[in-house]
């Protein structure tokens, strides 16, 4: 009897080793014997000319091997390429001018990290302070700091706004925050003088487009930068995609000093010098008819990407481009997007990637409109949601939504939240003087992004002469050994999501074995793994694309196994079924073991059907459909799959202290088919915690001089278990027509929805619109005072 493993809540194979401390993370590996340890000298000022950097005293310290300076970086490498032509080039270390507090100025390499840190103190640096710019609006008005300024118009927003019964005009600021993985960055770099090539082990998170970016900075062809990621990585949430800048920095140190270099980032460095999400200011104009139809949306966005436009930025701004209209049927949309640089650490990927910023502005606008129209916010949403019979749905900005009944999800969420009772309870509590509020958020969660969206930062004319880009493919290999052992190799470079478990489920279904019979290699090596520019785990693409590549490879192996078995059993391959570790003739007891089939393929090619290659192995690539580059009107299907999330938050604000207590939180998802509901639940819960973090506690703060005030975990307030609000979840499963298994990404949706839903609930509780995240007790109290 054939088992169906996909769709079952199988516990993760990864967990036992991780819980026993048997994981193999970067710092557990010793891949380059006798590696020396690096420490990074970082700028103490946000903006300064480096008048002098003298390492001579550091070089005197016993145990110090050498120092790489910004001047060396300038000599040995090129600036990193980025999506826009930036007037300020970005390099692995500051050359002459430091542009954020924490920017690398030099690398000291020594026999251990203690000596390296001792030596850092001996490097003499003379700073000539320059005026820092921290205000994004000031930067937007400064030509040199304005990296990109593009305007988009779909439909006729001017007329629609002019005819609207109500126009909501509001400004929303979204704070900078981060992903704070448990394991910080780590790199071991080993320059091979003989071949002029670099091998680097790093806990890098793909996309492997950034491999090309690193290779370009090093001036190497791709084949001479071998990048290896360890089997385990302790979380990333996007942040570790930027490890590539340190791969280059340590690669240059290894090249200059002639030793392998090991650098394990500590938490202080991580908070100051790794990455973070963009801070965004959004002015919204939204026109509504008297009965609540959303007629037009206009955004004016200023996106602060920090000191440099670091690849893949300004992607945060364009990842959501096809979803500017959110979950709503509005046809008239305009946006002006300005990307500015300020004297902060450069930004990058962070779970949600543009979604939290967009939906905070859009969903706050919807809540404000509901209040002004005297409509229930859930009712206003329902009147505007894209209908199930309109799917697949093309958005005004070119997005192609795939499937789902959004209104049904919203109804599920309202039912789970006991919405009507909650509204009555809220009104009763209010009459007693308590501050209770309810917030709703409806969001579309894109996954499997179309890299071509990044080119929207350039005009159609600028794009015309370039190679069109829309990469979204992923590769995978499946092989069956002579003894019947099944191995899958993926290039997803996961960071704890449970990829190995799901890959095993998929392959088990195709080859008719149990998931425990399938070995999954999650180690990634650019010189041996099947990969492409979009390989990795960004944009929640595993279940839609990577799983598809695994499926395709497994299907090919299964087809070949059936052909071999049919030949041996003297029947038609279509009559052979793989089940229970055997190849059997459908409807009969005849069959042979899969091990025997593999054995023939390896040991006895003569017995194979004529013309069939020996071996039992396949490598397949899969790319999602419909992902064209942007058209001449700047429309783009910016993602291949789109889930839907409907959330209801119920909060009470303690009047005396300003504390926000989340009494209830309901999140209903439609992420297509769930490959493993247990892992899906974990993704939703983690995504919820991340979103609740920025809603309630987390933000990165710089003072007016550009000093980082949240430089340790004492002041950067990650949400911890006791602060985690209660969560109730529900799922619908509308298969995506655009992914092989009908699955969509679901690891980011709640991060996109929670800031908006909790924001709406607190605004409702306080009866005011001017709330700002994070909603910490003192900040909320100031609003009440």
């Amino acid at each position: 009897m054939r088992q169906q493993w996909v769709g079952r809540p199988l516990p993760r194979f990864e967990d036992e080793a991780l819980l026993r401390g048997a994981g193999r993370y970067l710092d557990d590996l010793d891949p380059a014997p006798n590696a020396c340890h690096a420490a990074v000298l970082r700028s103490q000022l946000a903006h300064a000319r480096i008048a002098k950097l003298d390492p001579s005293a550091a070089l005197e310290l016993p145990g110090v091997v050498g120092v790489l300076t910004g001047a060396d970086v300038a000599e040995l490498s090129r600036p990193f390429p980025a999506g826009v032509d930036c007037p300020i080039p970005y390099r692995a270390a500051a050359v002459d001018v430091a542009r954020y507090a924490g920017e690398p100025l030099a690398v000291v390499v020594a026999r251990d990290r203690y000596v390296a840190e001792d030596a850092l103190e001996l490097v003499e640096v003379d700073y000539e302070p320059l005026e820092p710019v921290l205000d994004p609006l000031t930067a937007a008005a400064t030509e040199r700091l304005l990296a990109s300024d593009r305007s988009f118009r779909y439909g006729d927003p001017e007329s629609a706004l002019a005819s609207a019964h109500l126009v909501v005009r509001e400004r929303f600021a979204f704070p900078r925050w981060s992903g704070t993985p448990l394991e910080c960055y780590g790199v071991v770099a080993d320059w091979d003088e003989a071949t002029g090539s670099l091998t680097a082990w790093a806990n890098f998170q793909g996309p492997f487009t950034l491999h090309s970016v690193a290779a370009a900075a090093l001036g190497l062809p791709g084949s001479k930068l071998r990048l290896i990621t360890p089997p385990d990585s302790g979380g990333s949430f996007g942040i570790k995609s930027t490890v590539y800048a340190y791969v280059v920095l340590m690669g240059l140190a290894s090249r200059k000093l002639g030793v392998p270099v090991r650098w394990i980032e500590d938490r202080l460095e991580h908070l100051a010098g790794s990455s973070g999400a963009t801070a965004r200011i959004t002015d919204v104009e939204a026109g509504f008819s008297a009965d609540g139809e959303l007629l037009a949306l206009r955004y004016d966005v200023v996106e602060d990407v920090g000191a440099y436009v670091r690849a893949p930025e300004p992607a945060t701004l364009y990842r959501m481009h096809g979803s500017l209209s959110g979950a709503y049927r509005v046809r008239h949309v305009a946006a002006r997007n300005r990307v500015v640089t300020t004297n902060r650490c450069p930004t990058g990927l962070n779970r949600g990637f543009g979604g939290p910023q967009l939906y905070f502005a859009l969903e706050r606008t919807m809540a404000i409109a509901a209040r002004r129209l005297s409509l229930d916010p859930a009712e206003l949403a329902r009147r505007n949601l894209i209908r199930a019979d309109e799917q697949p749905y093309r958005t005004p900005s070119g997005g192609l939504y795939d499937s789902g009944d959004y209104a049904a999800c919203l109804d599920d969420a309202l039912r789970l939240a006991r919405y009507e009772e909650r509204v009555a309870e809220r009104d009763r509590a209010r009459s007693e003087g308590r501050l209770v509020g309810i917030g709703v958020a409806c969001i579309v969660e894109p996954s499997i992004s179309n890299m071509g969206y990044i080119t929207l930062a350039r005009t159609p004319e600028q794009r015309a002469g370039e190679l069109p880009k829309s990469g979204n493919a992923e590769g995978a290999s499946v092989q069956v050994s002579p003894l019947g052992g099944i191995t899958v190799r993926v290039a997803t470079a996961g960071q704890g999501q449970g990829h190995a478990t799901v890959c095993a489920q998929i392959v088990a279904d195709q080859l008719g074995v149990g998931p425990a019979d399938v070995e999954v290699i999650t180690e990634m090596d650019t010189s041996t793994s099947a990969w492409t520019v979009s390989s990795g785990s960004y944009s929640s693409r595993f279940s839609g694309v990577s799983a598809g590549a695994v499926l395709r490879a497994a299907e090919r192996v299964a087809a070949k196994a059936r052909r071999i078995a049919a030949h041996l059993l003297e029947c038609d391959p279509d009559d052979v079924e793989l089940a229970g570790g055997r190849a059997v003739v459908t409807g009969s007891a005849d069959g042979i073991s899969l091990r025997r089939v593999a054995g023939v393929a390896h040991w006895n090619p003569e017995a194979l059907p004529p013309g069939l290659e020996p071996g039992l192995q396949a490598t397949a690539f899969h790319a999602a459909p419909n992902l064209d580059p942007p058209d001449a009107d700047d429309r783009i299907a910016s993602s291949a799959a789109h889930g839907f999330v409907a959330d209801v938050a119920v909060v009470e604000v303690e009047r005396e202290t300003g504390r926000v207590l989340v009494l209830d939180y309901v999140s209903v998802h439609d992420a297509g088919r769930l490959l493993n509901p247990l892992l899906a639940a974990g993704q939703v819960r983690g995504s919820f915690a991340h979103g609740a973090g920025v809603a309630l506690l987390e933000r990165t703060v710089y003072d007016a001089d550009g000093n980082l005030l949240t430089g340790s975990f004492m002041d950067y307030l990650c949400l911890t278990a006791p602060e985690l609000p209660p969560l109730t979840t529900g799922h619908r499963q509308s298969p995506s027509p655009f992914t092989p298994l009908g699955a969509k990404g679901l690891g980011e949706g709640t991060t996109m929805s929670v800031p908006a839903a909790i924001g709406n609930a607190v605004a409702d509780a306080l009866g005011r619109d001017d709330i700002e995240l994070p909603l910490t007790a003192p900040r909320v109290w100031e609003l009440l005072a």
């Binding site: 990290r113 203690y114 840190e117 001792d118 500590d266 938490r267 202080l268 005396e656 202290t657 300003g658 504390r659 506690l697 703060v701 005030l709 949240t710 340790s712 004492m714 002041d715 307030l717 949400l719 911890t720 006791p722 602060e723 910490t776 007790a777 003192p778 109290w781 100031e782 005072a785």
Partner: protein, 287 residues
């Protein structure tokens, strides 16, 4: 995040430890539970030349009731202290304060004596010791002396300990009939430094307050008794209005400064609110 070089000493006896402190004076730093000192070393904010690890000293982790006090050896771990039977029975204020200190893991290592000697104005145990009117015993080669908590804490991170002295035990006055206490704090996350904190100790005789000690931390440079609040309460029976007045008196008496997470106005307001809550609870406990 690696410490600057230091010499490490691990004495086996108190005599040896005091000898090392006498020898190295201000160059030395005592390592007990390490929950404050080790991060400071790693961030190179603290750079002692010599680290004197006292964890092996025998007989310094006892907790026992004696003559109206509970004596806690300097090496008693915070988690053990809060749950020790003599403390549960006689020093309920300490039992209430301990769960606010850091996290389970830090309380399992952090010591009572280390927290007191560190003299962090935002720490819970110093505040409780001051509110109770307790004391500490300091030992050196020169002898032993007992210092009242009110005199022990000088300012943030500064105590009356001389460089050659080791804090060997703390004395926590035991509560009897008619005594009530309450500890209140608010932090943004479980285990964080508080934005406001207070400890209140009341003694009631014939349904009136005979002794009232209201102390606050976090917003002051050391755990500080607020006499204005105590004077308001003395001789009175507590009701909601009086508790609020005591809170207001405390709020007026402190002078916080703006911080990253909370304005001075918030900290002042919060201090008053927490005092109000603590006075009410302590009164109910004493009745």
């Amino acid at each position: 995040m690696k410490p600057a070089p230091f010499r490490y000493e691990r004495p086996e006896t108190l005599e040896e430890a005091l000898g090392l402190l006498a020898e190295h004076g201000e160059e030395a730093k005592v390592l007990a539970g390490g929950q404050s000192l080790v991060p400071l070393l790693s961030m190179r904010f603290a750079r002692p030349a010599v680290l004197v690890d006292v964890n092996r000293l025998p007989g310094l982790d006892g907790i026992a009731a004696e003559n109206g006090h509970v004596r806690a050896g300097t090496l008693a771990r915070q988690s053990a202290f809060g749950e020790a039977p003599p403390v549960l029975e006689r020093v309920p204020l300490a039992t209430e304060a301990v769960p606010h200190i850091g996290h389970f893991a830090t309380r399992n290592r952090g010591t009572v004596g280390g927290s007191i000697a560190h003299a962090d104005a935002r720490a819970e145990l110093p505040l409780a010791l001051v509110a109770l009117g307790g004391s500490a015993v300091l030992a050196s080669r020169r002898g032993r002396r007992e210092v009242a908590a009110d005199d022990l804490f000088v300012t943030h991170f500064t105590s009356a300990l001389e460089p050659d002295e080791l804090l060997v035990e703390t004395l926590w006055p035991a509560a009897g009939p008619g005594w009530g206490c309450a500890f209140e704090e608010l932090a943004l996350r479980a285990g964080d430094y508080a934005l406001g904190m207070t400890a209140c100790v009341l003694h009631i005789e014939e349904a009136r307050i005979a002794v009232a000690r209201v102390a606050v931390g976090a917003v002051t440079d050391r755990p500080t008794v607020i006499p204005e609040a105590g004077e308001l309460l003395a001789g009175e029976a507590v009701d909601a209005t009086l508790a609020r007045e005591a809170g207001r008196a405390a709020a007026r008496a402190v002078d916080p400064v703006d911080s990253l997470h909370a304005s001075a106005a918030y900290q002042r307001h919060l201090t008053g609110l927490l005092v109000e809550r603590a006075v009410l609870r302590a009164w109910e406990a004493a009745l």
